[in-house]
Subunit: 211 residues, 2 copies
């Protein structure tokens, strides 16, 4: 059975390990492509253009909006963020599932426009573990950590909008679990109208032959 | 993560290979138990009591109904058919998923009473293949085969009530796919309220500590 590509939206608390997980997923399995968002904000230290984001000017971004070049986009803190359409469309047509690592508002916009998108929420095994990981990074002040935990608290209120939760305990196990969840989601009845209609038509034809 | 047992309802066309598939599934994976239905109809040649069905008298069946001994039951062609509750409850409490191989009406009654039940519909790769398999059995007359195909045509109308379709092409592959679908269904957001609530509570506690 050839599988058609689907949009896979991945959200989750900062510190849940989404980035590492997604990189490991696309490295291990050929079925997935990772979409890179476009933004007008300045790159931070260590961020690479075309990997972290496509960094563009406000004019370039607005030009793309005019050309309907985004699956979804939004403006936060005076900066634009969006999912470029052309890359996603190309990958979907190749039968690849395209992973969009975006936050909840973006996730909701995608689900509205593409109801068959698969929405995943990545969580650490516990709140304590989330705090431990954030502290363990050793790169952020207590204030920033508290801010992230407070943001996680807000984000947690939106989990019901997602289809599946993924507990990121061990990376290896979690990568296989992600693959299995996405693969299984492809088997949902509502994502298989074509196959179901085809077998219905065939069975009806047999009925006619009998008569 | 300890997984709680769920009810797994499996339906599908006669000739789709449900029986063989379910046997292979419980043999390969420890996570599943197969429920055996109870009936008042006479055993057919080759049917074994306690394997194909539990064969009981009408009095025994009605006694069980009075004692609320069935998850669901129905009467067809003057015979009762039902899913005994005690075995299912015991297996669920052990953390096993219990597989109920029942037809669509039973499936709907289960879904009504147990909304977290996972409903699977097993299909052959095509209508043609279904006919080929039914003819290939070599045990049934053309009339019976036509009857089964006509029944399949009716059953196909109910597929939208199920959660997932399972294409039974190669047995080995299909068994693993079944396992993967059921395992993934356990990760649905709506089957994980407890975990989600727990992490929410934890995150809220952190907020209070900050203040």
């Amino acid at each position: 059975m050839n599988r058609r590509g689907e949009l896979v939206v991945v959200s989750g608390f900062s510190g849940a390990g989404k980035g590492t997980l997604m990189k490991a997923l696309v490295q291990k399995y050929d079925d997935y492509s990772l979409s890179v968002s476009m933004t007008t904000r300045q790159p931070r230290i260590g961020e690479v253009d075309g990997q972290s984001y496509f960094f563009v000017s406000r004019e370039e971004f607005e030009e793309q909006i005019k050309e309907d070049g985004f699956l979804e986009y939004a403006c936060y803190c005076e900066n634009y963020y969006g999912t470029p359409r052309s890359y996603v469309d190309r990958q979907l047509s190749l039968g690849k599932d395209v992973i969009l690592e975006i936050e909840i508002q973006g996730a909701m916009r995608i689900k509205d426009k593409y109801p068959s998108a698969i929405l995943l929420f990545v969580m650490p095994p516990s709140g304590k573990e989330l705090r431990r990981r954030l502290i363990g990074r050793g790169t952020e002040s207590i204030e920033i950590i508290d801010k992230r935990l407070s943001r996680a608290c807000e984000e947690a209120e939106g989990i019901e909008a997602y289809d599946y939760i993924v507990i990121n305990d061990k990376l290896e196990t979690c990568v296989d679990e992600l693959d299995s969840i996405i693969r299984s989601a492809h088997k949902s009845v509502f994502r298989n109208h074509e196959i179901i209609d085809k077998i219905r038509t065939e069975l009806r034809e047999f009925q006619k032959e009998e008569k």
